[in-house]
Structures are given as C-alpha cells and as structure tokens.
Subunit: 425 residues, 2 copies
Amino acid sequence: MDIQQYMQTVGQNARSASRAMASASTAAKNTALNTIARLVRERSTDLLAANARDLEQARADGLEAAMIDRLTLSAKGVESMAQGLEQIAALPDPIGEITNVKRRPSGIQVGHMRVPLGVIGIIYEARPNVTADAAGLCIKSGNATILRGGKEALHCNQAIAACVRDGLAAAGLPATGVQVIETTDRAAVGALITMPEYVDVIVPRGGKGLIERISREARVPVIKHLDGNCHVYIDDDADAAKVLPIVENAKTQRYGTCNTAESLLVARSVARRFLPDIGRMLARKENEMHACAESLAILKAADIPGAKLVEATEQDWYEEYLAPILAIKIVAGLDEAIAHINKYSSQHTEAIISENYTKSMRFLREVDSASVMINASTRFADGFEYGLGAEIGISTDKIHARGPVGLEGLTSQKWIVFGNGEVRA
Amino acid sequence: MDIQQYMQTVGQNARSASRAMASASTAAKNTALNTIARLVRERSTDLLAANARDLEQARADGLEAAMIDRLTLSAKGVESMAQGLEQIAALPDPIGEITNVKRRPSGIQVGHMRVPLGVIGIIYEARPNVTADAAGLCIKSGNATILRGGKEALHCNQAIAACVRDGLAAAGLPATGVQVIETTDRAAVGALITMPEYVDVIVPRGGKGLIERISREARVPVIKHLDGNCHVYIDDDADAAKVLPIVENAKTQRYGTCNTAESLLVARSVARRFLPDIGRMLARKENEMHACAESLAILKAADIPGAKLVEATEQDWYEEYLAPILAIKIVAGLDEAIAHINKYSSQHTEAIISENYTKSMRFLREVDSASVMINASTRFADGFEYGLGAEIGISTDKIHARGPVGLEGLTSQKWIVFGNGEVRA
C-alpha cells in the first residue's frame, strides 16, 4: 500500500464529506448517532470477537497489563459506548447558532454564526471506546473526522467503524464523514498531521511523548493536552472543615487521571495546623509525601505511623506522578503560591482553599491555568462535571479551547453580515 | 551580538512581564495608553527625524516606491497614531469578564473568565504605525508583546518603542511589557517563532511568502492571514438596485485591500441582464475583466468602449489580484456558486446578492469563510466596520479567531469554579 496515496484519498474524502456534514440537519445527525448506538448493541458479538482477536495478538506481543486493560472491551463497555452516543444525540446542536447580532452605523447588522471546524484528525491509543466517542462528538458538531487509533485495537476499531459508516448512511450522510485509517503504518500519522489542505485540526490523545512529537511535526493546528500537574493551595484563611475533604478527594479519589492533584502548597501560618492530619490521611492511603524541608520537619514531628516521607527535589515541583505520591511545599502566602503555580504548573487545573474573598478572587484571576477553582476539588475539571455532556479531551493550550473540550471546542464562529444593499463609504 | 542569547532574554522578560500585564487594572492600562499617545505627540519631531533617517537609508538601498510609501511617517501619521491609542484606551476592557456561570448538580458553579493569551509576538513589515497599534491592542488586552518590525523602519520603531516604554513606566507597568527587537538580524525571527516556553502566539503581518514561511517553521500557534480572494455572487433573485452599487464598491473602492472582491459569480438566468452594466462600470474605471467563455461572449456582445476583456484561465479563480482586475464566471445557480467559492476562495469574505430568503440563509451557513454577507459589500470585513474598535489583523484560520481580530482575539477564556468545599463523588 502506498501510504501517501492512501492518505491523500482519505483526506480528499474527508474534505468532500465535510461540506455535507456541515450542512446536515440536526435530525439527520441525531438519526445517525442513534442508529450507530443501535448497531453497536446489535453487533455486540462481532465487536467482542474483534476485540478478542486484538487481545490475543496483544498478549502474544507481550503488551503490558495496563495497555491490555485499556484495550479490553466488555459487554458492559459496548453498552456504555451505545449510551454515550445516545447522550451525544440528546445534546443541543451547536451548529448554526447565531449570536451577538448588532446594527452598525453603516446600516449593516453584524453577528456570529457557530460553524464546524471542518475536518478533524484524531490520533489516539488502543482504546476502542474512543473510536465511538470521538466519532459521535464530531458527527454532532458537523465535522468530518479521520480517526487513527492505536494499532493494537485495529480489528475492534474496524468493527466499530462499520457501525459508524452504516449509521451515517442510514441517515443519508456520507459514509466518509467518519473514516478510520485502515493501516497500522506509522507513516499514516506523519501524513495526517501535514495535510493542511485536507485537515483543519488535529486532536492527539495519548502519552506526552506522542503529543510532543505531533506538536513538533504538525503543519496543522493541534488542540492538545500535555501534563496535568495540578495544585491545591491551602491559604492562611482556609476553612478547616474544607481542607481535608478537598485534599483527600483531589489527590486520592483516582491516581491516574490528569485532574488529580500532584502538588500541595500550604501557607506557612497554617502548616502546623493542617499538615499532620493530611499526613495521616495520606499515610493511611499509602501515599508517598515528597515534602520540602520545612514541611518534612512538621510531618516527621507528627510521628505518623507508616508515613512514607521523602525530601522533595526541584524536579518534584514539575512532576505529574499519576501515582500515590504528593509533593508538599510550604509557601509564605498567596503571592508565593501563585508564583510557584505559574512557574511549575502544566496549566491544567489549580484550586485555592480560602475564606478570604480578595485572595480567592486574585487566585482566580492571576493563576494562568485552564481551570481555576475556589474551595473545590481539582477532580471536577471534566466535561461531564462542567456540563458539556462529553469531552474529546482536556486542552492545556491557550488559544481556541482551554480545559475540557466538548462540542463547542470542535466549532468556531464566523462573522455574518445582514445587509440591505449597503456599501462602504 | 549573540542572537539566541538576546532572544532568550527578550523572551524571559516578556514572560515575566506578562504576569503584571495580566493583572494590571483597567485604569493602569488606560493611563499607559493615554501617556504613550501624549508622548508620541510631544516627541513628534524626534519620531519624524528617526523616520527621515530610515527613509534616507531606504532610498540609498533602492527600495521600491510602494515600500517607501508605507515606511513614510508624516505629522498627520503621528497624530493618527496618537488618536488610535486613545481610541483603544476608550474601548471596554475585555479582561476579567466572567460569563456563563451555571450551577451544576454537584453544587459547584462553573463559568468562564476572559484572560490574556500571555505573550504575543508580532512580526510585520516596515510600517511604523503598526508598532503603536499593535502595542496598544496588546497592552489593553493584558498581554506582554514582542514586536519585530521590518528592518527598514528600525530607527522610527525604536523611537516609538521609547514612548511605549515610558508610558508603561508612568502607569506603574513593567517597561518590558512591550519590547521592540533591537536587531535586524533575521535569525531573531527564527528564534521568536520557536520559543513556546516564552511566546504563546505569533501574529505575522505581511506578504504571503513571509506568512507561509512563519507558519511552516513556527513551534508556537500562529494567528494568520493569507489571501483575500473574496467573491460576490449575484443570485437569480438579486435586486437590480443592489447589484451595481455592491459590485462597484466591493471591487473598485480600493484595489489593494484584502477585503476587495476578486471574483464575481453570476447566476446564468440573470447574466445577460446584469453583466453589460457591470462591464461598462468596470471599463469606465479601467478594470480588466478575466471572464469565463460564456460571460466573455455576453460582454463582447455588449460592445463596451474601452473594455479590457481577457478569457479567464483556471488560475484566475485562485487569484488575489490586489489590482483593477475582476474574474467573472457564470454559474448555474446557488449550488455551483457555493461549490466554486468553497473550492477556490481563501476563506476571507464572500457576499451574496439575493432577495430569496432560503438561498441567502443557505449561502450564509454553507459558505466556509471568515465573513459571509447578504446584500452588502465585502469591503465591510474590517475591525472598525464590525465595531471592534481596532484590529490586529484579519484571520483566515479556522480555530481561535476568524476574520477581523480585535481585543477579544488576543484573549482566551479559562474555566472558573466557585465551590463551597465540594468534592467529586
């Protein structure tokens, strides 16, 4: 197979399909989504068989357990895939929305119309559910999509792709509105990210190495998510009743998610008051504490049974552990906390715990991250929790979409002018 | 001078200044802008002397007349620079705006806050007024800025930069909030566009070659403007009274601007009715007509004195002439017009002339350009005409900002969460 030629064809198909996808009615898009959901359920046996084939190969290739885990599709997984598609069908259609129309002195009326981005390329790991989720979000937002899933999930992805194609066709939409790349050759990725004539934006999902490589080599805009090095700052004026629940939830509810707290900053004036209880909670849950010299002394003095205490190094402040480890640092107060976060954070999500109005509002404004919270767990940074209904990912970029990216992040706004024969003076 | 080292320092200064710029009060930003305006006026003699030095060198180097023209700063130019800064001071401050706050079932309240992008790098030609305009827009939108103007304007740019620095300092803002690069070495541009750690977005202004090179080599997001190949489509149901004024204004009001129409599409059923009058207007204004075979026959049959008629080639449909030339093509109707525009247009600005509601609304929705108009001249695609107050450029990108980019295009929205101790279930 000539990969360049194949990708050219895929790109041309996508660009051509994007016109029909953009002007599709809400009813047609919802019919497609609900039909795909039905087909996924009806063909559950086929999907699981295809997945079994992928799993067999993956085990033969000696894939690590975590990857096998993500690759595995269960009957329950099929059902939640179908439900996810139905939920997307139930969301309001963002396309065509007209806002902000104002009459200008010239007589014209100027406003915005929300429109699809066009063609979206999504590059992701061997997780079959992403194939259905990403296809669903792109269909609803009126985009054509090129999906490139991890090669280990090839058979399962192809089986899901067949459901998507048939669902699109049943709704009178082009079957090429969603294309799943049929080769595992990595050159296909290289081609996909360097076709600005056919692809409007790339959304990579996966490890940091993959995303950095794509950002470096892409000739197309990339909506990306790098690290989630999230911070909780306990202010001098923190409400004691809120401190432990928020720190516990932000750090220990799930360790492997990008909105999990990795660093805890504590105002010096309240460090002795709060750190021993936090240390006991973390020790009970077998978390390591990588603490600055000053917090280390307080934690040691608290004599916590089973505490795993390590003196933090500079590198700890940059770390996204994705593990039961929390970096802990004592700061003078709000200014140092903000400066520390703006220096070391990955600009994902940060929270302050404080009862002080002025300091809370300064934190909200001055911390330069995609999500900034007052008195809430960083774990809320999520498309469902924010009310987007679903998300294609969480962006740590600063232009276009920041934070959880839902349907709206897959659109843009063009200018529209309603005139009555006006000309410019 | 070690360019890499110099640009590192500039980048570090900008990143560091961006924190103070982002949290600056509206009053401080407006004081800075009004002070810069005053200083520009007070130092008018210095500015003109610096410009004279640049012009002398430019003439010695044999620069072409159009470039000399753009480089020239007059006393009136200084005054309009000052007025431009005062107008930006008078615009509402977009920063800190909180919108769309909704309570979620978990109890948290989620919304958006508008924030600066951070550090903006602007690369432009030898036009001294851009230095003041760009600095003004970036100050008001709370960004730190690195300006890299054309080397031919170096002395004048440095003189304007001194006003900007002094104005920032007078308002208690960091003088490094706006930095003008002090070397004419082109390696400085290469460095500027590959420092994602210090620069959040690049706005190139200039010729297509420059912009394509920057887009290709940048490691930082680029908000760019490529061509302005704008179309006017005369529909079967066009109001005769609107046709000639709009076509005349869109094509002939100014030839060198990006929102000038370059292609005219005419529905076959009305071509014989409208083309002869259009041909006479264009001939009177000494415009060439590059017409398709069918429209050429109609124009020839009209026997227009002095008409410059040329048969169009495929290349004409792609052309941004920036000159008294109009490409003319007869199409079957709306569908062919939309298909032609979506194939050949640079996605800048397109207009339909029609009294038909359904066809006008389809044109509005299905034409994939930054500005789409009904019964108005394409020349309206402009920051002032749209009510933005000022623009840093016109984007033909699809993500982030489309069309005229004003203060809002230099910002993004982060998520904010107001909590009361909530944790995720």
